[in-house]
């Protein structure tokens, strides 16, 4: 299943990456090369093999539900490229 130019554009949209025309060509070529290689996994029969999603973690542990101070407001905002008094500043994204 070769990756088309449209596939690359679709995936780039999902990943919020505005690629240049040149990059779309390059990524199409690279991704097809990599997928050709990873397709070797299809030669393995994994019908009754369970998936491994985590190793060594038995179960997520519980912690006591105790209130603790959180990051101060001004410190949380200190690294933002743009902020206002009450939070991170972003362009309007809700239609009026």
């Amino acid at each position: 299943m070769a990756i088309t130019r449209d596939n690359v554009l679709h995936v780039a949209r999902l990943a919020r990456l505005e690629l240049s025309e040149l990059e779309v060509d390059r990524m199409q070529r690279d991704l097809n090369g990599i997928l050709d290689y990873v397709n070797q996994l299809s030669e393995l029969d994994t019908t009754n093999v369970p998936a491994t999603t985590q190793v060594a973690v038995v179960a997520a542990p519980f912690r006591p539900d105790q209130p603790a101070p959180s990051l101060p407001h001004d410190l949380a905002l200190s690294q933002a490229p743009r902020s206002s008094a009450d939070g991170f500043a972003v362009p309007a994204f809700v239609d009026e």
Partner: protein, 506 residues
């Protein structure tokens, strides 16, 4: 190299604890060594003032008669993927640096993200009285095997500056190999500690998944990432691991398993240990000089009383394909947080809507390899491809893990090469992502299985007319939480090989 920086960590900490050396003198020696080796590009940030202040604080503590920690006065470098409250943290990416005047994306790591807190491992080093001398160069977001994906230029191999240091923890390996620091921290997702350790001729440890807290490590692939130490000798690496290991309430994946006596294990007898040799790691593509030297190191373990027997890890060849699906899928999700809103770079015009702010910021901020992996990861998780790629890879991961489980029923540890080749030339693989991925063929399976692993230097390759002598790493693999055993074996190899020569330029 000045004598002070030649000490092992235990010897140096001992001298600072007894007052034979001041932390200030050690720190000044490290800083002048850093100044003299700037062309190696090992560090993205030199913590000059903070390091001197920390050293003075250690000396003052001693003057007050207080006991000092296990890393008293030891200069340590930190991979730039680990958060430090008093130094920039960039992951060697433009996206974690503030925009410059030309609005073309950050180019100066000094303008990097300032985390509001320390990573747990960083806090533990400070609590042990270590001196943090700088942030180490790396492949952007730990994605790469040569250090060349750094937005701030590659670190150079001190054995031959036209060659790569390996990656992704390139600067952490170079800092230790060239004597800028006695120890360093890196992170290993698919070999990013072990491979640069091998290529730079130092010791590098990838602990068992869960052994070390990842709180404050910028996440790449969360089911694989693990923090670990570099040092020039095995015992120094063991001491570092002892300091940083252990359960952390701030990381729910950190294991509630007692921390081992890693340093004490370095003098333990290895007689009777069974070492497995998988033929899958000694076939086609392995540099013959590396095969010879790794076999010679295994021969030394035999002389020390270990028994050596063949084992089989039949799914080894599927490690690369499995890894590049699992790791990129997890990365595509983890890297969604870099959106130009809360920290780092933002590319925005007065007319920008939120979608174009995201898209432009991420396209300018991420380098080519990071974009490639985000796209691949998004693709393998997307509707219609999830089962064929992601689900399939998770099942093959089970087969790879079972290979190790079965092998460890018959042997106590497995000995293999760390890297199929010695350090390759800068530029040699940059245009061929797949060729770069193949460099990790021997380190990926242990990462997928989550087991303990380390790389210890064995004899370097012989110098030829076309290349100088280059370091070779022996990789030792053990079951989960068997780090003590690996340290015993690595220390035995080190003793019998008579230690490792210094790079010619250091």
């Amino acid at each position: 190299m000045s004598d002070v920086l030649d000490f092992s960590i235990a010897d140096l900490a001992d001298k600072v604890q007894t007052g034979a050396l001041t932390a200030r003198a050690v720190t000044e020696a490290a800083l002048s060594r850093i100044d003299a080796t700037r062309e190696l590009n090992a560090l993205l940030h030199v913590a000059r003032e903070a390091a001197l202040a920390a050293a003075d604080a250690v000396d003052a503590k001693r003057a007050r008669g207080e006991g000092l920690g296990k890393l008293a006065g030891v200069p340590v470098a930190i991979k730039d993927a680990l958060c430090t409250h008093d130094a920039p943290t960039t992951c060697a990416s433009k996206i974690l640096t503030r925009v410059d005047e030309s609005n073309s994306g950050g180019t100066d790591p000094e303008r990097g993200f300032r985390p509001p807190y320390d990573a747990t491992v960083v806090a533990r080093l400070r609590a042990a009285d270590a001196i943090l001398i700088g942030k180490a160069n790396m492949d952007e977001f730990a994605m790469g095997s040569s250090g060349e994906n750094s937005a701030f230029g590659p670190a150079r191999n001190p054995w031959d500056r036209s060659r790569t240091a390996g990656g992704s923890s390139s600067g952490s390996a170079v800092a230790v190999a060239a004597g800028l620091a006695l120890g360093s921290l890196g992170s290993d997702t698919g070999g990013s500690i072990r491979q640069p350790a091998a290529l730079c001729g130092v010791v590098g440890v990838k602990p068992t998944y869960g052994r070390v807290s990842r709180y404050g490590l910028v996440a790449f692939a969360s089911s694989l990432d693990q923090v670990g130490p570099f040092a020039r000798d095995v015992r120094s690496a063991a001491r570092l691991l002892e300091v940083i290991s252990g359960r952390d309430p701030l990381d729910s994946t950190s294991a509630d398993v007692p921390v081992g006596q890693y340093e004490a294990a370095c003098t333990r007898d290895v007689r009777g240990l069974r070492i497995g040799i998988p033929q899958e790691y000694f076939g086609e593509g392995l540099d013959p000089a590396i095969a010879d030297n790794v076999r010679a190191a295994i021969g030394e373990l035999e002389k020390a009383g270990c028994s050596v027997k063949p084992v089989s890890l039949p799914h080894t060849k599927y490690g690369i394909a499995t890894y590049y699906i699992v790791a990129t899928a997890e990365a595509s999700s983890n890297l969604a947080r870099f959106d130009g809103v809360r920290f780092g770079l933002r590319i925005e015009t007065p007319r920008s809507d939120l979608t174009s702010l995201y898209g432009k910021t991420r396209n300018v901020g991420f380098g080519a390899e990071v974009k490639r992996r985000i796209l691949l990861g998004t693709y393998v998780l997307s509707a219609g491809y999830y089962d064929a790629y992601y689900k399939k890879a998770q099942r093959v991961r089970t087969l790879i893990k079972r290979d190790f489980d079965q092998a460890f029923e018959a042997v106590d540890a497995i000995a293999v090469p760390t890297s199929p080749t010695p350090a390759f030339r800068l530029g040699e693989k940059v245009d061929n992502p797949l060729a770069m991925y193949l460099a990790d063929v021997f380190t990926l399976p242990a990462s997928l299985a989550g087991i303990a692993a380390l790389s210890v230097p064995c004899a370097p390759t012989p110098a030829t007319t076309t290349q100088p002598a280059l370091p070779v790493g022996l990789q030792l693999l053990g079951p989960a939480f068997a780090e003590e055993r690996l340290f015993s074996l690595a220390a035995e190899v080190e003793r019998r090989m008579g230690g490792v020569p210094r790079p010619p330029s250091a």
